[in-house]
Every structure is written in structure tokens, then in C-alpha cells.
């Protein structure tokens, strides 16, 4: 990890003072020229010790009322979803909206949606890390946690969408007494199992490795012996020894190097579920990049949503500064453009291929009975994010928040459009049909959000929501250092 060489003149600033432009120091440059220095990543002239306090505080004090309220809402949603799921297991798929032409419905939509959400975290921590994007340090921890929880939500759907979920384990190629009868490795669903589980576990490892030093920090601040014990165990007794840092850094780099292609591969493989079929509207070579971009897009939208919350609730504005938000807004805008490009390319190909089936599907998609869904998708994903061409908008908290929500809605509908419109009118007109979610579909969708936010709220309670050691690394020592003292150091800053 390199350290940012910021100018002493720029180090102490408040979030409000940030402009998003580099600070120009007249005549301070080499040969008396101007010197441009970036604005600090952490504002408010924080010291390293204060960083510890600001961030670990939330794992130490009793939850606020607002937290309890949020948690209650999330838990209720989760309970509703769980109830619907029990009903599903009792009575079978019949209670859902799926039917003969439309064999896949809300579950696959939700699955792809959540997997998409799950892409931002690893992307931020891995790709931005490889590109030495210092500003990632403020958000990567929460983003990675989000990834894990999103993947957890996604992971549920392929199981419960089975007609006989209790046999889901047959998807695992294990030696058995049926011949042995393995799995069909030609099937994209078999690939999925490997892709999703790999992605989930690697993301977990990546996230946990990054967590180790911070767990040690929490431990050292802990007063209660049990709390100390637990966090010590979780941090594998991390001391900060530089002999450990050495391996740690190399391993982190390697993980980043592997996670990066993994991010792209996972959604590529998810897109194969559709792309390898022969269904017009699914059978498309553009799907892998299209899905990956879409995933990054929706992921970043979700990160923005969560960060807005965290800034507000935990007063972390000094660590997740407006500059951070603007950087994400830029990415959102770019990926939004790419997604829009993908939509248009699809249509071009449909026309250019000259295939009746292909052409019809896309006409039907945009102007057929599901045109409304297509309209929502196109507006929210391709048009709305373009508002970020205006810097003012990029730096406006509420605009960011609203847009991020809209983008998430749009991305859910993108999957809705892909899954439903392709299925509901395929080759034989006789077998055409319509699809509508039933109340059970909605309840389970709600439940997945409940699960996601429940997990996230628990996460912010027990773990540092910002990568402390990484943030410390990018702070200016001249500001952050503590006063020299000969006294034996008191562990942490006790309250």
C-alpha cells in the first residue's frame, strides 16, 4: 500500500470545504511552478487514534433507537418472506405466478438482481485496489459486506425455485450409489453452482483477510475480557507484526488479482443461463458483457444507497466524503451509458440478424404487452444516471440517493424484461401466455430485502464498517500522529 503524499497545506479540511478539484498551490511546485495536490481523503484533521474511536464506537455502544427501528423493519420483512417460503415448501410452486410459457419468474429475476448487487463490493476492493484508487479505502469494507449479504440473498433463490428443493444437493457432483449418477456438466446451472459458491467464498475470504487488523484494533479497545477473547480469536491473534504484514500484503494482492477476473466470470456464467439457451431474446452473445456491466451498475447504485445511510446515521462524513460519493456517481454514469449502449446493440442485432424470431421478440419487448416494464428499465438505467453530467448533481446527497434507488428499481426490471418477455412469447403462438407475480412472489422478494438489511444492520453493529488500517494508511502522518510520550502506551483510547 503506497502512502499518499499530500501537501501540508491541504490536510486539514472539512467535508463541506471539499470541491472535488485538486488544490492548486501557487509557486509551490518544482522550479517555482504551481503545485496541484489532491484534496485529503479523510477530512476533519483526524488523528489515527480518533479514527479508531469514530469507527469502533458503533460496535461498542448500545444500539441507537434509529438502529432498532431499522432492524425491526428489516426483521419483519424477513419474517414475512420466511413465512411465504414455508408456504411454498408445503404446497409447491403452484402458489407462484409462473406458468407454462413463463417457467422462470420472480425467483430467477431476484437471483440475478442480487448477484448483480453483489458485484460492486469485490469490484471496489479488488479492481480499484489494483488500479491504486486510494479513495476506495473509505467504502470497500461496507461494500464487501454488502457483496456477501447480496450473494447470500441470491444464493437462496436457485434453491427455493426448484420444484423439489430437498433434492438440491444432487447438484453437487459427489460419489453416490446411483451408478454413480453425477451431474450434467453441459448445463449452465451446473456451472452456476461452482461460480456462485466460488464467488461467495472468495469474497468472504477477501473480506475477512482485510478485516483481520481491524478486528485486532477492536480487540485492543475492548474492556470486557470476553469481548477481548472473541475478537482476538476472530483476528487470529493479530499483533501488527511486520513479518505478518509482509505475507498479508502479498496475499491481499493475490486475492485482488484473482477476485478481479472472478467478478467478471461470475456474472458471465450467470448470463450463460440465458445465453446458451435457444430462446430468442436469451440466445445472445452480448449477454456476458451486458450482464457484467449491469451488475457493476446496480452494485454501485446499492453502495451509494448504503453509504448515504452510513454517512447520515454514523456521522462518517469525514471518512466517506463527498468526493467519495462523486467518484461513485461518475462510475454510475459511465456504466449507465454502457448499459444503454447494450440495450441499443440488442435491437440493432435483432434487426441486423434478419431473424424473424429475434426481430419479433424485441419488437414485442418494447411495444408488446410488457412495454411498460421495458420503459421503466430504459428510463431508470439509461436516462436517469445521465443527470450526473452535472457536477452539482454528483455532489448532491439527495440526488445521489434518489438516483441510486431508481437505478436499483430499473435493474430489477431489466431482469424482469429479460426473463419474462423472452419466455412469454416464443416460437409457437399457441403456447404464448402472460406472467404476473402473485402475493407470494412479492412476499418472498420482500423477504430477500429483509434478509439483506438484517444482515447489514447486524454487520454495522459488530464489525468496523470502514477499513481502519487502510484508512490510516492514506492519512497524512503529520496530522494523524499522536504526541510523543515516554509513558507506556495505554491500549486504545478507552472511553
Amino acid at each position: 500500500m503506497t502512502r499518499l503524499e499530500t501537501s501540508p497545506y491541504a490536510t486539514v479540511m472539512d467535508d463541506g470545504q471539499l470541491t472535488g478539484h485538486p488544490i492548486v498551490l501557487a509557486g509551490k511546485g518544482p522550479y517555482g511552478g504551481d503545485l496541484e495536490v489532491d484534496e485529503p481523503l479523510v477530512t476533519g484533521g483526524k488523528t489515527w487514534a480518533e479514527v479508531d474511536r469514530d469507527i469502533c464506537m458503533h460496535t461498542e455502544q448500545f444500539p441507537t433507537k434509529r438502529w432498532w427501528m431499522a432492524f425491526a423493519v428489516a426483521a419483519t420483512a424477513l419474517a414475512i418472506g420466511t413465512f411465504a417460503m414455508l408456504m411454498l415448501f408445503y404446497s409447491g410452486m403452484g402458489i407462484l405466478g409462473i406458468n407454462r410459457p413463463v417457467g422462470w419468474g420472480s425467483f430467477i429475476i431476484n437471483f440475478v438482481f442480487w448477484i448483480g448487487i453483489g458485484h460492486a463490493g469485490t469490484l471496489i476492493s479488488a479492481v480499484l485496489y489494483l488500479f491504486r484508487q486510494q479513495w476506495r479505502t473509505g467504502i470497500n469494507r461496507a461494500a464487501e459486506a454488502m457483496t456477501l449479504f447480496a450473494v447470500a440473498c441470491a444464493g437462496i433463490f436457485p434453491i427455493i425455485h426448484l420444484g423439489r428443493p430437498w433434492f438440491a444437493y444432487w447438484l453437487v457432483p459427489y460419489p453416490n450409489a446411483r451408478g454413480p449418477l453425477w451431474v450434467n456438466f453441459n448445463s449452465p446451472l451446473a456451472w452456476d453452482i461452482f461460480a456462485i459458491s466460488t464467488y461467495g467464498l472468495v469474497s468472504l475470504a477477501f473480506w475477512y483477510i482485510g478485516l483481520l487488523p481491524d478486528l485486532a484494533t477492536v480487540r485492543d479497545r475492548a474492556t470486557h475480557p470476553w469481548r477481548k477473547k472473541i475478537y482476538n480469536a476472530m483476528s487470529f491473534g493479530w499483533t501488527g507484526s511486520h513479518r505478518a504484514w509482509r505475507h498479508y500484503e502479498s496475499a491481499y494482492m493475490i486475492l485482488a488479482a484473482f477476485a478481479t477476473p472472478l467478478v467478471f466470470s461470475v456474472h458471465t456464467i450467470v448470463s450463460f443461463d440465458f445465453a446458451t439457451s435457444i430462446l430468442p431474446g436469451w440466445h445472445t452473445t452480448i449477454f456476458p458483457p451486458y450482464f457484467v456491466i449491469g451488475a457493476i451498475f446496480s452494485g454501485f447504485a446499492m453502495v451509494i444507497t448504503l453509504m448515504t445511510f452510513m454517512r447520515g446515521y454514523f456521522g462518517l462524513t469525514n471518512y466517506i466524503t463527498t468526493n467519495h460519493m462523486e467518484a461513485m456517481a461518475k462510475i454510475l454514469m459511465l456504466t449507465g451509458l454502457l448499459v444503454g449502449f447494450a440495450y441499443s446493440t440488442e435491437f440493432f442485432m435483432a434487426w441486423y440478424s434478419g431473424s424473424e424470431w429475434e426481430g419479433f421478440v424485441f419488437k414485442n419487448r418494447a411495444f408488446g404487452p410488457y412495454g411498460w416494464a421495458y420503459a421503466i428499465m430504459f428510463t431508470c438505467n439509461a436516462i436517469v444516471p445521465q443527470i450526473f453530467w452535472w457536477k452539482k448533481m454528483r455532489r448532491h446527497a439527495w440526488v445521489l440517493f434518489v438516483v441510486s434507488i431508481l437505478v436499483n428499481v430499473g435493474m430489477w426490471f431489466e431482469r424482469y424484461v429479460i426473463v419474462v418477455t423472452s419466455l412469454h412469447r416464443d416460437f409457437l403462438p399457441s403456447s404464448w401466455g402472460m406472467y404476473a407475480l402473485t402475493r407470494w412472489d412479492y412476499m418472498i422478494l420482500l423477504g430477500s430485502f429483509g434478509l439483506f438489511f438484517t444482515l447489514f444492520l447486524l454487520f454495522v453493529r459488530v464489525l468496523p464498517v470502514i477499513a481502519i488500517s487502510e484508512v490510516k494508511g492514506v492519512m497524512d502522518p503529520k496530522v494523524a500522529r499522536s504526541a510523543p510520550t515516554d509513558a507506556a502506551p495505554a491500549a486504545g483510547m478507552r472511553r
Binding site: M87, Y90, S91, G92, M93, G94, I95, I98, N99, R100, P101, G103, W104, H161, L162, G163, R164, P165, F167, A168, W170, L171, L181, W182, V183, N184, N186, S187, P188, L189, A190, I193, D273, T276, S277, I278, L279, S355, E356, G359, F360, K363, N364, F367, G368, L423, R425, D426, F427, L428, P429, S430, S431, W432, G433, W440
Partner: protein, 1040 residues
């Protein structure tokens, strides 16, 4: 943690032991769980207690019974004593055909809503109470003896039953009234007056080059088996040239949908149009024997084509052209009527005009009518029913015995039968359940199902069939013949009746332990009657028994040839019928046609029939008011919007349907729906249109009824079994179809489609057998018997109205019905699907039986991760239910959407009240599939699929496997079977031989030849899936 290398740790061992015990326990538990928990449950295997040695070789083998049902010979396949399949009799000389009701009869047999035994119904005052046969008999017999009793039955065609009734009437003065709701006497009247003989010979459609139908419906009601003859001439290159079929009709019927040319004429105009054509032939063309007949000329004079055509709103040239065609095809053409249109006030005139046409084109002379197969049409008996109602009201009847009739439900409203019934002092119903009529009776004495009781049937061509039971009565019921004979004897009827009952008692001085005589008096009576009338020997004599067993084996007996019909010479007075032509209604007119599957509604509690989508409207579970497309659009209606139909004082509110090809001034409603007391399955399904019918001239009138239709608020979703109606074959070449002209130019015409690219992979070898199917669309008329046959053979559940609305039908084979869109409509994809008027006003109807295509490169197989579907070595696309976990990926990837998913647990009853409340649908499925004895119909050779499992057509794999096993047993080769060794259920049920199944690698296999036929087309070549099913072009005979 602290550690000290030097200390010996004396406690370590101790700890280990404790550890060991703990994990030991865990291990034991796990082991127990593993070995016990994962075991199959203990199953019992219960053999017979005392098995007849006749059965020894029958165990686990099907046994077949030749019997007869509703006047058609059938073959019953039974397993372990329960009928599991009804198939058309393979060697049937009578020419009768089967209807859907025959194939679905199992559901009636195992219907849980049948009365379990005699019931004291109490005239509907108070709840019915279970009764006993002794009680019923003691109630009925004295009254029967007292006289002034009436027996009201459906049409009776059983000789022995007729004889029994006659005997009883002779003694007790019992009056027999037969009423058939769907029969109109128009045909009989016309023929009687024209020829002095009501018997109608069987038209030889297999001999006719030109068939003209005036509202003919021989495909909608195939019980007379004309569809078989018809199909023989519908495919080109079948030896004899293709026949051309022209249909004039108001509502698009299945018959009309199969016509080469269809002319829209509403029912009330048909008579004059037919007469006009006759006019054009006789007077215009001066053709035929009647050309110089002044009387005929006089009678036809008012029907100048120009005049008539103007009234009927068609171009006169259409009529003259038609006449010219007929004249040209003299001696090779036949004209048909006798559909619902003949039940219009002008029905007799229509029949008469038809007769004239047939005479003038020498149809009789040229032997286009099979006089040997002549039979008297079933009597409608409307007049008799009306009279009966009056007698009842007048109190002239003391006792009414109802058997196989349900007038309270299906009598015209004007008869006011229910009210009349109240006047009778004693009513007993012999129907099989407490139906609408029985509900107002004193007693219900349930008669057994024909599969449970003895009887017989007189068939055309002098054939006689025995209705032999295939199973003991499931409930406490008695055969109709048994009942009447027993009651008759008890009422003191002498002769054969008494003898039959006497024969049931053990012979005096019979050796103890000698087998007791058959307890069914009906059986004795039947045999005695056959002995007297047909076999000419006494029952019990060896000669008789031999002959009798032969009859039971063959299913029928060639009796004495029926009396020859008189030469068809026209009786002049009959021409008067042309004069008495009632005025056609000014505005809208109504046609009340029998529901395609339910007919008169007797089978309304039959899930298979209710779920069977009408082949033309594709509506299942109910019916609708069919309105002409243009009028429909003018009324700004959508399918399912409620409309009120007002005919006379009777009104009916039902959902509207945009019926393609319907005449602009005509609406139509199916009969046979809206039962209120048939059972849990059929009650309240659809509207009951019977009350809308009227009686005029002693005939029930179901067509040409003046009506008004207006929209009322509300909707009732129609359960369509099909997504979109119209296909644009230029863009979607999914149905090979062409015209004869084009076909003669190029035999491949109609099969054009985009070719696929080259395959990346080498092909798989199929060294031995390779199963395949060919379906000749020219022969297929869309009747759908294959659908029911498949459903019965393969244990396919019924999903109910809700299930169809949710698009979750389960049937493995479906008949897609398309209206062929001409090129001009193909411009903009989305438009065609709304059924533009240009397409649906004069529709070209196409039928495609769609089932699993068993693609060589099956897309479903690649995507299943669970290895639940893959290809077999003999080219089958296997679906393994017990491995399927239900990702539904295969169904998504199936371009034909023929895979069916078990969204619910159809095979077990979900009883939890809580969950029924949470989602009401759950309960309905057990009602439809698992109540009572329903599952006795299941075929033991086919797995009953559980919930969450995908299923689809298996090419009747159980039959293939059985054939292979049989070959092994006989030490023969297990592959390359000759044609006909393996016959799937659909092929077995198909009356027209449109379906051919076999092994394309077998020497001389027909299916191989058909697959190579120039007319053959395999669907969706561009996708490279390579189906195993070839569709042979539907060729339309367009050459006048």
C-alpha cells in the same frame, strides 16, 4: 495458552476416554440415523386369498374386454380387474365411431359423485337419506303393478331392453317415453315423407369426390364414424384422388374448419340456400334425373339463386358456381346436412332440399349411400315429452320412472317439467346420481355404469354387440336391465321376464356345493333374448355357450341383414316441405349447439371432458356466447365480458367470445354446461343454455332462434388452452400447409422454411431402433381423441379451470388451432396476433397435434443439470421423474413448449384447512384427481408423478418396453419391430390414422417412408433441434 513440555499430563488419557465416549455416542446416533432414517418403509405384499386358476397367467398382465358403450363398440383394457383404458374396438365392422365421451368414460365409471346406493331423496324436501334396495323395490313394484306408470328414458337402442320394456308394458300398461335432448326429428320427418322410410343410409364419404355440407356436423359428432371414411380421401396420393369438401354454415364448426371451402350462411337461411342450389342444379344446369320433373321445378321455383343469395347476403355466383360443381361431379358427389342447423324451424326444408340435391346428382343411384348401413335416426321425442309433461300436470300419471333422462335440466323452459313433476304422486329415478331430476324424485335407484352391467346394442349393418361388464359394480348399484326385469317380474310380468328372475334362484334339487347361478336377472334375460332372436338356441346348450363366448370374444355378432330400403323414389307430396318455409328472423339469430366434449351434459362431472378445450374456440371448463368478430368489435367487447342473451322470455348471462368465421347475424352458445347437480367437478361450470330452446312443430328448436344480445357489466375469465390464435406462416412456418394446385406443381409446397447452419458436432449413432412419428395434417381433423387417450394411458392429472387460467395444463399432447394469416397481415409482428378481421372473418383453420418432438439435438437435455432428461439409445428423449428436481429450465428451452410441470401435488389430497384457506387452489386439485375411487383409473405401468417434477410425452415408453420384454420372452430380436407392434395411446385413439409411429430403422417401416415423403416437414429446422416427428402437409383442395 500456558504449556509445559515436561509435565507428563496424567489427565490427558482420562480426557481422551471422555472425549471418546462423547464422540462414540455421536457416532452411534449418526449411524442409526443414517441406516434407519434413509431406509425405505416396510411394504406389504398381499396376494389373493383364493385365486381362480384362470387368473394365474393374468397377474400383472392387461386383460381386454370387448364391449359396447352408447352405441359404439369399444375395447376395455383392464389391470387387476379395473378398467384403465377405453379404446375403439380394433375390428369394428359396424362403422360406428367413438366420441370423446367413450374415451373418457373411465372418469364416469370412477366418478366419486355417483350415488353409493339407493337414496330416499324425499322430493327435495329435506336432505336425502340413504335407503336400501328392498325398500325401493317394495315402493316401486306395487305401483308398477297398479299401472298408469310411465317410464321416461333416453334413446333406447338395446334390443333386449326394448323387449323387456315391451313385455312389462304389455302386462302393466307401463308407458315408455324416450327423450333425447340433442336429437331433432327433422331428418326422420324429411326422409319419411320423401321415401316413406325414415331410415337414413350411411353416406359413403370414402367414395365421394365432392362433399357439400349444409351445416353438416359429422366431425363434431363422430359417433356415426363418418370421420374415418372422410379421412380416407383427404390426403393426396392415397390411391383415390383427394375429395373436396365445401361447407355452408353459420358458426365455424369443427366440420367447417376442415372444409376446403367455407361459405358463411346463417342457419335460418341454409334451407333456402340449399333449395337455391338445387334450383341452380335442376333448373339452371338442367342436370340429373329431376331435370324434367315439373313438380320439382314448381316446388323450387321460389328459390331462384339471385333472390335467395340477395336475402342471404352472398354473391349469387357462389350458389350457381356450387351448383355447377355439383352438376359436374354427378355420381361422385354427396350432399350432407343434419347438423344443428337442421334443428332450426326450417330444418325439414333444409333436409328436403338436401335430399333433392342428392337425388339430382344421382348420389343414391351411384351408391354414395350405403343402404346396408341404413338406420333410423334416434327419436328426439320432444313432442312426447311435452305431452308427458301435460299428462303429469293433468295428474294422469301416478308413477314416473326416470332412467337415463334428465328433463328438469335439459327440457326446454316452455315444458316447465319441474313444475309438472311435482304433480306426480311417486317418482323414482334410475340415474347414477342425484341429478337435477332425481333431486325432485322420491327415490333414487342408481343404475350401474355400462362397464359394470350386462346389456346389448343393435348396430348398423345388422350387427349386434354385447355390453359385457369389465368390473363388479363399484357401489351398491344394479344394471338397468337387471332392475327392470326384476321389478317387472315382481310386478307379475310373465314370460321371459319371470323366467329370467326364476333362473337366478338355485335350481331345485341342485347338488350342494354346485356353483350358484348368476344372480343378475338381466344376464339371464339377455342370454334368453339372444337365444331366441339371434343365436336360435336355448341358453345352457353347448352350442349356445360356444356361440355366446364367441360373441363376447369378438364383441359383436353379424345378425340377419336388415330389410332392404325401398328404392329412393321421391314422393311428390314431400315437396310441400319446400313450400312451408318459415321466415328467417330479421335480426340476430341464436344457435344452441352441443358442447363438443360434453354433448348433452351427461358427462358434465367428467374432469377430462370438462378440461378438453373445444377444438375451435379452445375454451375449456365452460362455454361462451360466440359472437361474430366484426359485431364483437362493434360492441367493443373483450373475450370474457358478460353479455345478456334474450330469446323470447328466456334470458341468459354469459361471457362473450370473438368466434372466428361466425356469421355476422348469428350468435351461438354451447349446450350441456351449467349443470347444478352433477357433482363437485361439473357443478356451476359454464352457462346452461337448454332453457333457451323452444319446441315448435313437435321438434326442439336449437337454431334460428331470434335473440337480442346486449352487454352487461362484469367479466368472467374464459379458460383458454391456447395463447394466440393467428399464425403468419410466411414468418412462422410452423404448420406445413398448401393448396392442391400448389401441391401438384411442387409436392414439397408448404414445407418451405429457413434451414439451419452446420452443426459443430458429429452426429450420435443410433445403431438399433430409432423411434419416430409422422402426423398427416391432411388426415387430422382436430377431434382430440388422442388427447383423452393419452391422458388416460399416462395418468395425466386434471388441473381444473383455475389451472387452465393459470396456463398450467398437463396434457402431453395438445391440438394447436391456428387461423392462417394471409401475407398482407404479416407486416408488423404484433398486429397479427390480435386476429385482424381480414383473417378471422373468413378463417383458414389449421390443426397441429403438438407433443414432445423427441428432438435428436434436444435443447431440453443440454440444460438439465440433474441428468433428469437425456437421449436413449433408441432415439427417445427420456424424462426421469424420480431424478427430476424441477428447475423448469428444460421447459423454458423447449421451442415447442410441450413439457409439463407439476406445479401442485395432484396425486395426493391436501386436507390442511389452514393451507386451503391460504390458497384456495390447493383444495381444488384433490377434488379433481384424488377423491374416492378416482385413482383406480391409473395405469400401473406409468409412474404417478409427484409435485415439482417435469413430465412430457414419452412415446408411451411403457408400451415400447413391454414389446421389448415380450420379444425377449419369445426369444426374438428386441429391435426393428414391424409396424403396429408398438402403438402409442394417441395413435390407438386416432380414428383417421393421421398418426403413424414406428422404428425408422425397421425394414419396410411406414414411418420411415413418411419421414422421407415430400410432404414431410420437421419443425424449426433453423434451430437445429432435429425433431423425430414429421408433419405431413395439410393440402387444401382448392380446385373447383
Amino acid at each position: 495458552m500456558k504449556r509445559n513440555e515436561t509435565s507428563p499430563h496424567p489427565e490427558a488419557l482420562e480426557v481422551d476416554r471422555r472425549e471418546f465416549l462423547r464422540v462414540g455416542g455421536a457416532l452411534a446416533a449418526a449411524g442409526a440415523l443414517a441406516s434407519a432414517g434413509c431406509r425405505q418403509p416396510q411394504e406389504a405384499t398381499v396376494p389373493f386369498h383364493d385365486m381362480s386358476e384362470k387368473l394365474v397367467d393374468g397377474q400383472g398382465q392387461p386383460r381386454f374386454f370387448a364391449s359396447v358403450l352408447d352405441g359404439s363398440p369399444v375395447l376395455l383394457r383392464t389391470r387387476e380387474g379395473r378398467p384403465i383404458l377405453v379404446a375403439p374396438s380394433p375390428d369394428d365392422a359396424s362403422g360406428r365411431g367413438t366420441t370423446l365421451r367413450h374415451h373418457a368414460a373411465l372418469m364416469d365409471l370412477y366418478d366419486p359423485d355417483r350415488a353409493p346406493g339407493p337414496v330416499w331423496v324425499r322430493r327435495g324436501k329435506g336432505a336425502p337419506v340413504a335407503s336400501a334396495w328392498t325398500v325401493v323395490t317394495s315402493e316401486v313394484v306395487p305401483r308398477l303393478a297398479k299401472g298408469s306408470a310411465v317410464l321416461l328414458t333416453g334413446p333406447v337402442s338395446s334390443p333386449s331392453l326394448k323387449a323387456a320394456i315391451a313385455e312389462i308394458s304389455a302386462k302393466t300398461g307401463l308407458v315408455h317415453v324416450a327423450y333425447a335432448p340433442l336429437e331433432s326429428d327433422a331428418v326422420a320427418t324429411a326422409w319419411l315423407r320423401a321415401f316413406g322410410d325414415a331410415r337414413v343410409p350411411r353416406p359413403r364419404l370414402d367414395k365421394a369426390d365432392l362433399v357439400v355440407g349444409f351445416g353438416a356436423e359429422f366431425l363434431d359428432d363422430p359417433s356415426d364414424g363418418l370421420e374415418r371414411d372422410f379421412a380416407l380421401r383427404r390426403a393426396p396420393g392415397g390411391g383415390a384422388p383427394m375429395s373436396r369438401f365445401i361447407q355452408l354454415e353459420g358458426r365455424l364448426t369443427l366440420t367447417g374448419a376442415n372444409a376446403d371451402r367455407r361459405i358463411r350462411v346463417r342457419d335460418s337461411e341454409l334451407a333456402s340456400v340449399a333449395a337455391a342450389v338445387a334450383h341452380a342444379v335442376v333448373i339452371g344446369q338442367r342436370a340429373g334425373p329431376l331435370a324434367n320433373d315439373a313438380e320439382v321445378a314448381k316446388a323450387l321455383a321460389p328459390f331462384a339463386p339471385e333472390v335467395v343469395a340477395k336475402r342471404a347476403g352472398i354473391d349469387p355466383s357462389v350458389l350457381t358456381g356450387l351448383a355447377a360443381e355439383l352438376a359436374k361431379a354427378r355420381g361422385r358427389a354427396v350432399v350432407l346436412a343434419g347438423g344443428t342447423a337442421s334443428a332450426s324451424p326450417s330444418g325439414e326444408t333444409l333436409e328436403m332440399a338436401t335430399l333433392l340435391l342428392n337425388l339430382s346428382i344421382d348420389a343414391f343411384g351411384a351408391g354414395l349411400f350405403d343402404e346396408a348401413a341404413a338406420e333410423a335416426p334416434r327419436a328426439g321425442g320432444a313432442r312426447a315429452l311435452a305431452a308427458l309433461a301435460d299428462d303429469l300436470r293433468a295428474g294422469k300419471v301416478a308413477t314416473l320412472i326416470v332412467a337415463g333422462a334428465n328433463p328438469v335440466y335439459d327440457a326446454p323452459a316452455s315444458v316447465r317439467f319441474a313444475e309438472a313433476l311435482a304433480k306426480v304422486s311417486f317418482v323414482v329415478s334410475l340415474n347414477d346420481r342425484v341429478d337435477e331430476t332425481a333431486a325432485l324424485a322420491d327415490f333414487l335407484a342408481p343404475a350401474s355404469h355400462p362397464f359394470e352391467s350386462w346389456g346389448d346394442e343393435a348396430l348398423p349393418r345388422g350387427l349386434f354387440a354385447v355390453q359385457q361388464p369389465a368390473i363388479q359394480p363399484l357401489y351398491d348399484t344394479k344394471g338397468l336391465l337387471d332392475l327392470l326385469v326384476a321389478w317387472g317380474a315382481a310386478a307379475g310380468v310373465p314370460g321371459a321376464v319371470a323366467a329370467a328372475v326364476a333362473a337366478t334362484a338355485p335350481a331345485p334339487g341342485a347338488a350342494p356345493g354346485a356353483p350358484a347361478p348368476n344372480p343378475n336377472p338381466g344376464w339371464h334375460y339377455l342370454r334368453a333374448h339372444w337365444g331366441r332372436t339371434l343365436l336360435g338356441r336355448e341358453p345352457g346348450t353347448p352350442a349356445f355357450e360356444a356361440a355366446w363366448n364367441a360373441v363376447l370374444r369378438d364383441g359383436y355378432l353379424q345378425g340377419p341383414a336388415p330389410a332392404a330400403a325401398p328404392p329412393r323414389r321421391l314422393a311428390v307430396p314431400a315437396l310441400a316441405l319446400l313450400g312451408s318455409l318459415p321466415e328467417a328472423p330479421a335480426g340476430l339469430e341464436l344457435q344452441l349447439y352441443p358442447h363438443f366434449a360434453l354433448r348433452d351434459g351427461r358427462g358434465a362431472n367428467n374432469g377430462w371432458l370438462q378440461e378438453f378445450p373445444d377444438p375451435v374456440t379452445r375454451i375449456s371448463w365452460g362455454g361462451a356466447v360466440s359472437i361474430a368478430p366484426r359485431r364483437f368489435d362493434e360492441m367493443k367487447l373483450a373475450n370474457g365480458d358478460l353479455v345478456e342473451v334474450k330469446a323470447g322470455e328466456a334470458t341468459l348471462i354469459a361471457p362473450a367470445y370473438r368466434h372466428a368465421g361466425m356469421h355476422h347475424d348469428q350468435v351461438a352458445i354451447p349446450l350441456g354446461l351449467g349443470r347444478s347437480a352433477c357433482g363437485v367437478i361439473g357443478n356451476g361450470i359454464g352457462p346452461n343454455a337448454f332453457p333457451l330452446r323452444a319446441i315448435s312443430g313437435g321438434r326442439t328448436v336449437s337454431a334460428g332462434i331470434p335473440v337480442t344480445v346486449r352487454r352487461v357489466t362484469g367479466r368472467e375469465e374464459l379458460a383458454f388452452a391456447q395463447g394466440s390464435d393467428v399464425i403468419d406462416r410466411d414468418r412462422r412456418p410452423l404448420v406445413p400447409a398448401t393448396t392442391l394446385t400448389a401441391f401438384e406443381k411442387d409436392a414439397k409446397a408448404g414445407t418451405e422454411q429457413a434451414k439451419g447452419g452446420p452443426s459443430a458436432w458429429p452426429e450420435h449413432r443410433f445403431p438399433d431402433a430409432r423411434w419416430a412419428m409422422a402426423i398427416d395434417l391432411s388426415k387430422c381433423n382436430g377431434c382430440g381423441k388422442c388427447v383423452i387417450g393419452c391422458q388416460a394411458e399416462n395418468n395425466i392429472p386434471v388441473v381444473g379451470r383455475r389451472g387452465v387460467l393459470d396456463r398450467r395444463e398437463m396434457s402431453w399432447i395438445r391440438i394447436d388451432r391456428y387461423y392462417d394469416a394471409p401475407k398482407k397481415d404479416g407486416r408488423w409482428g404484433a398486429e397479427v396476433w390480435d386476429g385482424p378481421l381480414a383473417v378471422v372473418e373468413e378463417p383458414q383453420t389449421l390443426f397441429t397435434p403438438m407433443l414432445c418432438q423427441h428432438c435428436e439435438n434436444a435443447p431440453c437435455e443440454t440444460v438439465c443439470p440433474f441428468v433428469a432428461t437425456m437421449h436413449s439409445e433408441d432415439g427417445l428423449n427420456q424424462q426421469i421423474y424420480n431424478r427430476c428436481v424441477g428447475t423448469r429450465y428444460c421447459a423454458n428451452n423447449c421451442p415447442f413448449k410441450v413439457r409439463r410441470f407439476n406445479f401442485w401435488e395432484y396425486s395426493t389430497a391436501k386436507t390442511s384447512a389452514l393451507f386451503r384457506a391460504l390458497d384456495r387452489r390447493i383444495g381444488r386439485f384433490s377434488d379433481l384427481n384424488t377423491r374416492g375411487l378416482m385413482q383406480m383409473k391409473n395405469n400401473p405401468e406409468v409412474t404417478v408423478r409427484g409435485r415439482g417434477v417435469m413430465e412430457k410425452c414419452s412415446f408411451c415408453i411403457q408400451r415400447i418396453r413391454e414389446a421389448r420384454a415380450a420379444a425377449t420372452r419369445a426369444g426374438r430380436k428386441k429391435d426393428h419391430f414391424a409396424d403396429g407392434v408398438v402403438v402409442p395411446a394417441c395413435m390407438e385413439a386416432c380414428p383417421t390414422g393421421a398418426i403413424t409411429f414406428g422404428d425408422i430403422h425397421a425394414p419396410g417401416s411406414r414411418v420411415a417412408a413418411l419421414a422421407a415423403h415430400p410432404r414431410a416437414m420437421k419443425l424449426l429446422e433453423a434451430t437445429g433441434v432435429k425433431p423425430s416427428i414429421s408433419y405431413l402437409t395439410k393440402v387444401r383442395h382448392d380446385k373447383a
